[in-house]
């Protein structure tokens, strides 16, 4: 199977109303490049349906303290965007789980031909929170289109009805839509916002693709609450926090992912 069809296949098995599929996240270079690559494999083996690999950036605008700290650490380890492309190539040849890149626009802009390079390494989509379709004159979106590399659209609880339609129209080839749970940056939170079902319902009315909910999901009960409201649950900072405090991160991450990914 080519890497290009892995994401489509994973998404085709997800049904509204089922227990949500799990999308997990690593910062490449945290706690080290080697260990982050191992962690991706651990996640894949223990039930993650999709994994995003974050390329560390010096000024991650949408990230809270956990991921920001992990990025600072990764940069101090000397991890470069080229290292991340290599890591993607290595991982996509080893595991069947669909992989995405997450980063910020400056790194994409600085790496000439990034869309092609990413696509060539087996990456199946990009999450770039600081560029939104319809807001920029840059060729970024068309470059990704020509590589058949989807840019995952993001929406928030305060995205208006008009904008939801606009974003949906601007991203017809999107495999899923990333729904930010709340106004705020990434980070584990105690509970999910109460208005979530109404918000996710508005998203459903405008997008025919699966809804992935992220920002603030740190426990199994959060994912249970999402059943019927979102098809994918995204866990990021909670894993970073686990790695930070753990002496045996691979085992603990394996257990955590297993617990979260099964009903």
């Amino acid at each position: 199977m080519t890497t290009k069809s892995r994401l489509a296949k994973a998404l085709s098995t997800i049904k509204t109303g089922d227990y949500p599929a799990l999308m997990t996240h690593v910062v490449l270079g945290y706690p080290s490049l080697e260990k982050s690559i191992e962690l991706v494999q651990v996640m894949a083996e223990n039930g993650a349906s999709i994994i995003e690999l974050q390329i560390p950036f010096s000024d991650p605008m949408a990230d809270g303290p956990s991921i920001m700290g992990a990025c600072e650490h990764a940069l101090s380890e000397g991890v470069t965007p080229s290292d991340c492309l290599e890591a993607m190539a290595k991982l996509s040849s080893k595991i069947e789980t669909p992989l995405l890149f997450m980063s910020y626009y400056n790194l994409v802009l600085n790496q000439k031909g990034f869309a092609k390079a990413a696509s060539d390494t087996g990456c199946e989509g990009l999450i770039v929170p600081d560029i939104t379709p319809g807001e920029s004159k840059d060729s970024f979106f068309t470059e990704c289109d020509s590589e058949n590399l989807p840019v995952i659209p993001l929406v928030s609880p305060i995205t208006s009805e008009t904008r939801l339609k606009q974003i949906a129209n601007n991203s017809t080839s999107a495999p899923f839509v990333y729904c930010v749970s709340t106004t705020g940056t990434t980070g584990a939170r105690d509970k999910l916002p109460e208005e979530l079902p109404a918000y996710l319902n508005r998203v459903k009315e405008n997008f025919s693709v699966p809804r992935a909910l992220g920002f603030g999901i740190s426990e199994k009960k959060h994912i249970e609450q999402l059943q019927g409201n979102a098809e994918i649950a995204i866990v990021g900072s909670a894993v970073i926090n686990l790695i930070k405090e753990s002496s045996n991160p691979n085992t603990e991450v394996a257990n955590f992912i297993q617990k979260l990914s099964k009903k």
């Binding site: 000024d59 949408a62 939104t132 929406v155 305060i158 995205t159």
Partner: protein
């Protein structure tokens, strides 16, 4: 004068290829709301009346345009004039856009203000307008900047603001902008981000230009009144670039007027030792806008060095990037050492204390004046006064008596607490 389209942003907020709105989706509604509010306010006579009233009676506009006769004679060339924004309320040009933006915030019904500050002058001005207009004020400041501009931290707190030191990255202005953006992302429903320079996602660069352009308008009419000419040169320091845009804007279409922006040369031209974006910077997108950024080969933003916290910033406002590429403004730099010398020169010859930031512009005027004939005129925008820099001047300029005083005072302070 009527503004032509040449230096105006397009519908996406780009000046040429620079600027734009590179913001997370969660901020887009707030940026749209702000843009709509700004566009309608500009056309509202009541808003303009309130703005003009505040400019006159709260800020103290117009600020003087002062001929520096002693310094000009001493240098033996062009006549140097100083636009003294240091005499504006709160001591710098920052109050101009703070008054404007707080009126916009009021119009939008926002009650909570978040801001970043470098040297503390924007934070001080923001804290002041928040106190006056009854808003809840939160100012992010790089931890390093909070230490080196401690007097402004004290006054901001006295004015009722919460000052939050930022310990990430280089602990400077860039990190403060980052932290303020994150606060805004979190509290966007009820907060206005009172951004302090001509940078950030559209429409911020344009909003601050609009509220700062009064500086150049005054320079023009004051110089015509004093000597019936336009200036030959207008010089201003450039951090993010708000005071320079304010001083230059009126003259952008006057091709006879040469415009010079002066960046922070810091400790020298080596990578990582300065904050001169046009000497080694490259096009990038950070903090919501496209412009020249000091960054490494991979696109990671680099740390900067400058004695002036207000210019110690890795990016530069997008209109400056455009003016640079168009060749309309020439950009030079001044080192920390030259800046300290210029502060001293201005103080001794004219009895005026300059902020470290503004003294970058003075350095260029002092270089340039002797090379020009006596019928030429240079206007330097003195964007702020120097009192905030007491501790930095104290360390670099004074004899041991200031140090002795600080040590003795610290001892007494400690004892009085016990």
């Amino acid at each position: 004068m009527a503004e032509s389209k040449k230096y105006q942003p397009d519908q996406y907020g780009y000046y040429g290829e620079y600027g734009g709105r590179y913001a997370p989706e969660v901020l887009i509604p707030a940026l749209e709301e702000l843009e709509e509010c700004f566009e309608s306010a500009k056309k509202d006579p009541e808003f303009i009346k309130e703005l003009k009233e505040a400019q006159k009676n709260y800020i103290g506009r117009p600020t003087p345009l002062c001929y520096l006769e002693n310094l000009s004679d001493k240098l033996g060339g062009a006549k140097i004039y100083l636009k003294n924004e240091g005499l504006a309320h709160t001591g710098a040009h920052k109050i101009n856009h703070c008054v404007g933006q707080i009126l916009l915030a009021k119009r939008m019904g926002k009650k909570r203000i978040v801001a970043e500050t470098g040297a503390g002058q924007h934070g001080l001005a923001t804290s002041s307008v928040c106190a006056r207009y009854g808003m809840d004020c939160h100012v992010y400041m790089g931890a390093r900047d909070a230490d080196r501009q401690r007097p402004n931290v004290f006054w901001m707190e006295t004015l009722g603001a919460e000052v939050i030191p930022v310990h990430h990255g280089g602990k400077r202005l860039k990190d403060a902008v980052n932290a303020a953006l994150k606060d805004w992302i979190t509290n966007v429903r009820d907060s206005h981000y009172l951004l302090g320079s001509c940078l950030g996602p559209h429409p911020f660069p344009e909003i601050n230009r609009y509220f700062q352009k009064v500086v150049g308008e005054e320079i023009k009419s004051q110089l015509v009144e004093q000597q019936r000419t336009l200036p030959d040169y207008v010089i201003a320091c450039v951090g993010g670039g708000s005071n320079a845009i304010g001083a230059f804007n009126e003259f952008l279409e006057e091709e006879s007027v040469q415009l010079i922006g002066v960046e922070a040369g810091g400790q020298g031209p080596e990578v990582g030792q300065h904050a001169a974006r046009f000497q080694g910077g490259r096009v990038g997108v950070v903090e919501g806008y496209k412009s020249y950024w000091l960054q490494d080969e991979h696109g990671q933003v680099q740390d900067t060095v400058s004695i002036s916290a207000g210019l110690d910033y890795a990016g530069i406002g997008p209109l400056h990037a455009f003016l640079h590429d168009q060749g309309r403004v020439k950009y030079t730099s001044a080192t920390d050492k030259e800046v300290l010398e210029a502060v001293k020169t201005l103080a001794e010859n004219e009895g005026i204390l300059s902020a470290l930031e503004s003294a970058h512009g003075l350095v260029e005027a002092i270089r340039l004046a002797p090379t020009l004939s006596k019928d030429k005129t240079i206007v330097v925008n003195l964007s702020g006064r120097g009192e905030k820099d007491l501790f930095i001047f104290g360390r670099h300029l004074s004899s041991s008596s200031f140090r002795e005083f600080i040590e003795r005072y610290a001892e007494e302070f400690k004892e009085s607490d016990n």
